[in-house]
């Protein structure tokens, strides 16, 4: 605590360090390192979060923090340490601790030395002053409009307005320096009527793209339509998943795209490389050129991000290799998975609904967990609006259902896609899929 007081007297708060200052800081860290190999990372994040519920703001908060993380190695013996200070004393503790740990560690047969200088691709901007300047006042303004819309309908609103601005950097003893800064703003809201609810949310880097009113309007429209759901029997249904629900379900599939896990036989992708696992409409790729979902310039260990196709026409083309496994397998390492894109088709979601004679429209999923990882069998529930489709039209709300189903089956049975939309770190379309298994129901709304 004494060291912290010293930091306070000499410290400067409230300013994001420019790239040159961060570079100088990381060089000071590396200069102090005696171990032959080192990788040091810097992160700064300033954020605000305003939370609301029952038509009132419940929490209004903000803060900032910076970190240094250092990994050093003697041969294959490595150790790391982290501090949330950048003053000289903290840097001293950071280095001493990492070196002490590394010196006494056993050899790691999978250790790889840090990479040297890299050439980074041009990526769309991820930093916007308009976002970095957002304050609790702007957050409250957005929420005030949501609450008014809810009150006018006799509903209750809840949600989160969150914004942040940050920087990260990486430097290695092999001469690499990488720097990246980004901003983010997200807004989501749930509107509850007497017997049903609706949800909508949006994330973006640029405050002007948030369009919070349309988010609120979407949640309100769903909530209105979702009132007084009727009972429905569980079973196998033709489903139309909105992009939010697609992103919810596929998140587990994305996390399983690891090459080593597949090679060891523990995931659904074991032995499936080159195989048509999914409908031929399915294409999954990491992209770095979309301004609506911009990629960082670098990923794992400072490697440059690049476009990578994981699934093409339903066939698994590649699984993600970390640096060690890539070396073992004689291939290039994959710097990152996100931002991840599932290509859609140029038509609105309503066109998918129009193709369904009898089925269900799914807005959002909740509490998804593995039932069996090898089969990628998942369970979870629908939430905030589940609707019956009859004769190509949305025919009314039904009660929520629990599913036990695999996203592999979901994509294998995909018959049609709509336009892709951003949902957090992915961009996915609405999906019409056949024979989706729901196993039980709930009266919870």
């Amino acid at each position: 605590m004494k060291g912290n007081r010293r930091r306070a007297q000499g410290g400067k708060e409230g300013a994001m360090k420019p790239a040159e200052e961060v570079r100088a800081l990381l060089e000071r860290v590396l200069a102090r390192v005696r171990a032959p190999r080192a990788l040091v990372q810097y992160a700064f994040q300033r954020g605000l979060a305003t939370r609301f519920g029952e038509n009132a703001i419940l929490q209004s908060s903000g803060g900032e923090e910076e970190f240094l993380r250092l990994e050093v190695a003697y041969g294959r013996r490595h150790g790391s340490s982290i501090v949330n200070r950048t003053d000289k004393a903290a840097v001293g503790r950071l280095v001493d601790r990492a070196e002490e740990i590394a010196a006494s560690s056993p050899e790691d047969p999978e250790y790889l030395p840090p990479p040297g200088p890299q050439a980074y691709p041009g990526v769309p901007p991820r930093w916007f002053e308009s976002t970095a300047r957002l304050s609790p006042v702007e957050a409250a303004g957005t929420i005030r409009e949501a609450v008014k819309a809810a009150r006018d309908a006799g509903y209750r609103s809840s949600g989160l307005f969150e914004a942040g601005a940050g920087a990260r950097a990486l430097a290695t003893s092999a001469g690499l320096f990488a720097f990246d800064r980004s901003s983010s703003v997200g807004y989501s809201t749930t509107l509850h009527g007497p017997a049903g609810s609706g949800y909508a949310g949006r994330d973006t880097e640029e405050a002007d793209r948030l369009e919070a009113r349309s988010v609120t309007r979407s949640a309100l429209e769903t909530a209105r339509a979702a009132q007084n759901p009727q009972g429905i029997e569980p079973g196998d249904y033709t489903v139309v998943f909105e992009p939010q629900a697609v992103a919810d379900l596929l998140s587990f599939l994305f996390w399983n795209l690891d090459a080593r896990d597949a090679d060891e036989g523990t995931t659904a992708f074991a032995g499936r490389l080159g195989e048509a696992m999914f409908s031929e409409t399915v294409r999954l790729a990491t992209r770095i050129d979309d301004p609506e979902l911009p990629a960082p310039p670098y990923g794992q260990d400072g490697l440059p991000m690049r476009e990578t196709v994981w699934v093409e026409r339903g066939v698994v083309r590649r699984l993600r290799h970390d640096r060690y496994w890539a070396e073992r397998k004689g291939t290039e390492p994959d710097p990152g998975l996100y931002p991840l894109f599932m290509d859609g088709e140029d038509r609105p979601l309503a066109d998918l609904v129009a193709q369904v004679e009898r089925g269900l429209l799914v807005k959002r999923l909740w509490y998804i967990r593995y039932v069996d990882r090898r089969e990628l069998l998942l369970t979870g529930l629908t939430r905030d609006g589940l609707f019956r489709i009859e004769g190509g039209r949305v025919a009314g709300p039904v009660q929520n259902l629990r599913f036990n189903e695999s996203p592999v089956v979901f994509l294998r049975n995909a018959a049609a896609l709509s336009r892709s939309e951003r949902v957090g770190p992915v961009k996915v379309p609405g999906v019409l899929s056949e024979r989706f298994t729901f196993s039980s129901g709930t009266e919870s709304v």
Partner: protein, 482 residues
Amino acid sequence: LKDFTDAALNAAAAAGAAFADVRIVEERENRVLVRRRSLKLVDETERSGFGVRVLLGGAWGFASSTVLGREAAARTAQLAVEAARAAAAVPRQPPAVVAGEPAHTDTRVGPCREDPFAVSNREKADLLLAACDTMLNVPGVATAAGWLGFLRRRRVIANTDGSYLDLSTTFSYPHLEATAVAGEESQERSYPGGARQAGWEFIREIDLPGHARQWAEEAVMKCRAEDCPEGVMDLVLDPMNLALTMHESVGHPTELDRILGWEANMAGRSFVRPADVGTLRYGSERVSFTVDNTLEGGVGSWFYDDDGVPMQRFPLIRDGLLVALSCTRETAPMVGWERSNGCCRSDGFEHVPINRIPNLYLEPGPDDRLSPEDLIAGVERGLYIEGQGSFSIDQMRNNFQFGGDLFWLIEGGRKTRPLKKATYQAQTRQFWASCDAVAGRPWWRPHGVMNCGKGEPMQVMFMTHGASPARFRGIRVGAARL
């Protein structure tokens, strides 16, 4: 630190705050992670900062900083005041107030007989590498992984009531798992015991290397086991399995903030209403749950919560009847309660404290002679489930589906053979109403949970659950599509 906390509190009071607190958090964390025969991570983190919370004009504001000095304290308090003023644009009705609480001055240090930070990282790494090596040497095991984590957290809490608290706790959180592969089948088996507020003595007690072979062999056994049949069966659940079941179906539904609708956008609400206290039949007469934030070794035993309220022990459900809810100084007045029962916690200096599940356990049955074998003997056809696996529950905490880590078929009153891929599915109150027996106190075991996510932004919290094995009649099993 008193000068520092006074600077923050004085700045808040000068701005007109009806209540303010400042919470300094210093953390030291050590992690060692092994995967296969590779030491993936060995590190140590040092992190500190403080948060200031103010109640101004019936609205809350919060700000945090890592700069520990008088000027920064006052500046951060001012930011919290500005945040509260912004929040007042969408005001609570009635305006927010805090439940009364006497001033407390206390210094406490939690249990830790053997300082884990004094144990060398080499010893920790060697322990995990040995355990993983033992697992990998079992034919059929494809991969093994484990970690040892140690967290020491010091919280200094001061508030405008006049409280000043200096509280230190040490948590040890181990893990070990084996994954076996047989053809197109893959199954896992894990260390079942959870975390504890303790030091290195806990790691020695649980003896991960000594159990590694057994767990690895059980993973292989699961690969070869039959799939769980579908139907309606009786269940006997071990304490580690019950820990997650009670967490999701009892702990979360009885959080007052969730009941009030404050979690509606993310974690959901609850089927419980405030008026249900004293009237709602939650389970059978065999079912009694106790909140015990004074539990020795409990990872939720923090002496005082982040509202500055002494942690307590009280009944939540007695003989099947709901008799209390967990609450905070903020939520208690919303339902007319004068005092909080001490269930307000934050996971770090940078987050607003919120209503959290406390240490919560199922009381053992009244007959100390009643053993797990006695429970099994009373089942003609059913499942005995150990450990934790899949878990999912709806946003109102009604419909749930849980798995486990090891499954045995019970036939004619005895365990006959292992199964795999078992799930049980029920509605919360139906499930607890079906409980007809709980084994005695000698079989009661705690389980420390270190990964309870709640809130927006997400906070990750710790609490200990506990139970003796318990029996449930007529539960739907094997409903998953396999």
